[in-house]
């Protein structure tokens, strides 16, 4: 049944108040930004907060500015639509802007926010189902059940990292700022996530994501390439985020490649990264670096499309994402 359960709705006017309410209600509370992830999940009873804290009226979360050092700071409540049309982003952050545009539909992007997308719940074919369906499989460990149907012998949950922006912001080494009672703290994007379908975030529940800061434009180039069945609105079954730092002669100084839609976090393609560093991006290197991503692409039966096929095309997509950094 697609109706929201009952809940209380809070509208704090600043971050301090928001954090205070979250702290006060503990496990009963959840923040809501655009609501495009939370509300459908609540309708399916995946998440059932009795206290929902809206961030709409928190002014500092809506800001967007280029810092004096050239970095771009984006408030968590900035909508994806605003971002995808922001000229500075289109000019200097093409890979990131592309990832934003690949998220769902224009309608969803009108409501969805960058903060919400960074914290998107992990997804799974055994989890993103109606209550009645989950009743029929006796649920799963991510919610109400005991086992993970993706790998019944495994002690952990294998739900999939499904945000389009996460692989690319991790690759770009963006920084993410949080507020809680103790004040502000900043994390490297990579450090916000961990490889567990349930505890996929390292932050405390009451910690409020306030801002994301993208590195200043420079000698690097990022790209994002998304694999899915329909380009209109499907979640990724593979999202390759790549970022390469080039020396003046074109030699790659540093390489970050993250695979989304494979594990419960944006997984680094370490062998690919190693191959790239110290070399120039030739067709041959691109092919080799792509092939090296076959091993980490341990696809499982938790998304749309065939497991084997997803593994086989991962190297091709990694290679194409690297090519887009040229």
């Amino acid at each position: 049944m697609l109706r929201l359960p009952k809940f209380a709705y809070h509208t704090p006017k600043d971050a301090v108040e928001a954090v205070r309410i979250a702290k006060q209600y503990g496990k009963e509370a959840m923040y809501v930004a655009g609501g495009t992830d939370l509300y459908p999940n609540m309708k399916r009873r995946h998440q059932t907060p009795q206290q929902v804290i809206s961030l709409r009226d928190v002014p500092e979360l809506h800001s967007m500015e280029v810092l004096p050092d050239g970095r771009l700071q984006i408030g968590a409540m900035v909508t994806l639509t605003t971002l995808e049309h922001y000229p500075h982003l289109l000019a200097h952050y093409k890979g990131f802007a592309h990832a934003v545009r690949e998220i769902s539909t224009p309608l969803l992007r009108n409501m969805g926010t960058i903060g919400g997308n960074l914290l998107l719940d992990t997804r799974c074919t055994y989890y993103d189902q109606s209550h009645e369906w989950r009743e029929s499989i006796d649920y799963c460990m991510k919610k109400d059940g005991a086992i993970c149907w993706v790998a019944p012998g495994s002690p952990r949950c294998w739900a999939v990292q499904s945000s389009d922006t996460v692989p690319v912001v991790c690759a770009m080494e963006a920084e993410i700022e949080f507020a809680d009672e103790g004040g502000l703290r900043t994390l490297k994007a990579d450090d916000l996530y961990q490889d567990d379908g349930i505890q996929y975030l390292t932050k405390k529940p009451e910690e409020l994501l306030t801002k994301i800061t993208l590195p200043a434009p420079g000698n690097w180039k990022a790209s994002y390439l998304k694999l899915r069945r329909r380009d209109t609105y499907d979640f990724p079954v593979l999202g390759v985020g790549a970022c390469l730092w080039f020396a003046e002669d074109g030699t790659i100084e540093k390489a970050n490649v993250r695979l989304g839609g494979i594990g419960s976090y944006a997984m680094p393609a370490t062998a690919t990264e190693k191959l790239l560093v110290g070399k120039k991006l030739t067709d041959e290197l691109i092919a080799d670096a792509g092939a090296a991503a076959m091993k980490p692409a341990r696809t499982m039966d938790n998304t749309d499309l065939d497991v084997y096929w997803r593994k086989k095309v991962a190297p091709i997509y990694v290679a194409r994402a690297l090519k887009a950094c040229l």
């Binding site: 049944m1 109606s130 499907d234 091709i316």
Partner: protein, 850 residues
Amino acid sequence: MVLDDPGLKHGAASPQARSDAPWQHDKNKDELEHIGKPIRKVDARSKVSGLTQYADDLTMPRMLHMKLLRSTMAHAELAHIDTSKAAEVPGVKGILTGKDMPMPFGILPVSQDEHALCPDHVRFVGDPIVAIAATEEEIAWDACRLVEVDYRELRTIGGVHEAAANEEPRLHDYGVRGNIHRLENLEFGDLADGFERADHIREDTFWFEGNTHLPLEQHASLAHFDKDGKLTIWSSTQTPHYLHRALARVLHPLPANRIRVIATPHGGGFGGKSDPFNHEICAAKMSMLTGRPVKVVLTREEVFWCHRGRHPVLMRSKIGVSKTGRITALDFHSFLDGGAYGSYGTASTFYTGALQTVTYAVENYHFRGARFFTNKAPCGPKRGHGTVQPRFALEVQLDKVACDLGIDPAKLRLDNLAPRESVTANYLRIGSMGLGACIEKVVEGSGWHERRGKKEVTKDGRIRGLGLACSSYLSGAGLPIYWNGMPHSGVQLQLDRSGLCTVFCGSTDIGQGSDSVLGWIVGEVLGINPLDIKVVTGDTDLTPVDLGSYSSRVTVMTGNAAMQAAERAREIVAKGVAKKIEVPASRLVFAEGRVFDAEDPETGMTFMEAVGIAEAQLGTIGTVGSYTPPKSAAKFRGGGVGPSPSYSYSATVVEVEVDPETGIYRVPKVWMAHDIGRALNPAIAMGQIEGSIYMGLGEAMMEEMAYRDRSHKGQRIFLHKIPSMLEYKSPSTLEMPDCVTYMIEDPDKNGPFGAKEVGQGPLLPIMPAVANAVFDAVDVRVDENPISCEKVFAAIQAKNEGKDARFGPALDATGIPDVDFGESLRIKTPWQGGDGTASNAPSRTKKAKK
């Protein structure tokens, strides 16, 4: 949509009427006034402005909301159901279980195997067990969660191979044996001789996965049993007449004449709302129990569970052809995964063997079909009912034959065309036949000869390919669902002095425009604006019986009935006017809202005045019309499925661009030609063609009614993979290609103004054309539908590894289940001197040993 395409010519140059055509009705009119014009639908503005009241928009005072508790087990006996906790929930007003409605029902008289609520046996995840009505939907849902059901699990039967291998446990205690629901074995002509004379024989195995209708509107019903003891149900049904019959059966002793079924405007049917459903019957019974109106709206998941969609079908086809590609023999096996209930399955089984002969002349033909019961949501009719899967097999196989013989696939088909005005090997009577013209159109439009086999590479490295396929579909089933001698469609017409003309007909507009068809036809005959005509349909209290919106029957059948009623009305009005203005009735013209003398157009009057004059002279004006299809040529048992007043024809060329590295492909353009007989309204007909292309591409590229089948520590879960709009993959606007649509107008003598069907036929050739186009691009065969990117990739890999460049079910004996079909029913073909009867009488039980 290419409105100005040169292929689309209609309007001024009306096709020549044949002397035997009943639709050549008004010799005084030079040109058709409304027919063939792109006028808007009678209900268009309410629909696009959001004012149409669908079933879910209806509400009544004191209305209760009903939810169904559905089985969470794929296969189980119900040991015990305890509803006591649910009954205590404040707001709960009524609870029903299987024992409250013990009478089984089903759409076909031969398979009355469903219960409104399962009394003791559940057969798929989603089978309903308990109905609860409460003051709020949430309360009913919460109360359902408090019902305790004690299941005794039974072994799950998961597909055709599993059903064939396991006679026990049986899903039903009827059918042929074990879990075989139907077995058909029909042999027309001399197969041995046909294969003997063949220069080339090939045998292929195909798999067509099931898929569902995916209507945007979820099923909904509102039932009200009033204080006078009369029951009214508003429901999103395509077949109010059949629902009426099912309600009368299950709600016995409530007589049928106290039950009123009103079909509400439709937000999509496609065959999925053609069965009487559990929720409809439960809502009615619940209203009788509580004395309050009861509403039920299914969730999206429940719509998937109602299903009645495309059967998964495994097929083996053996074809024999001469050196020049003429078909000498066809031996076709189909194995249908029917799901949990009979539904239309008996007809579906026959349909997998019926129409192969209608496109191409098949000299000798053997069809064997088996339908199995499995623990899946029941399959039934979806757009193209039962003929879609074998069409995929045949059209891909013909492409392979053409390839084997080095013949152009278009020529191979042109050389094999079934002749017009002929009777096929299986005794289907073909009238008009425009398939040749269809093929020529798409071949020309697509640049087939110049572009096929060229393997052009796009800027992004994809390889282009073109594929061609053809099809045929019926314009209405020749026989009703239940045996009777009454008309298939009735129309009643009322005229009065205000100039009002109201058409009453039991038909249901499911979006295809059947209400508008009634308006256009009556408007044409009476010479009045179709948009001034009131159309009342789908109400069993008010409208004469029409069997429903299925099998593309409505335009032909209600159209003919409406024409008869309108001609009778015109006769009455003409009689009155003739007397008044003193000219012979035969000289009167009904056009432009006037009735006038053909020889002196100034002498005449408005239609309103004319009706008033006739009413004064002859009394209140009302007429009726009805239609019954012509008798079938087939007299053998099983010959009842396939005959139709006329057959439509389609040919398509599909262009694909395949990424050879990943198997991902897109479809940039489709050319479709459809032999429609006559387009009553070219804009609406084109909408049906483009809708078919869209739906066909969904089936070809991605749609799958797939099941999750996992076991863990002895527990097997077996249920629909992902019953949601997001994850049941269906194409969006981005996947919709440019369409070039051609209408071939070759009027058929059995259609109103020569019209034939258009709603289903153009879907059929899309899937095989996609498969053939993929082959043209990357030289691999995908003998399975959907032709998903994973399968294309796997076939490319096989090719690269030097293996058979194919993806599909095994070609050897393991590919199909081992089923004893028993002795065939042998029927001599017309050219063998046959008369449509069988020459033997095999044992009807078919309990042959395995």
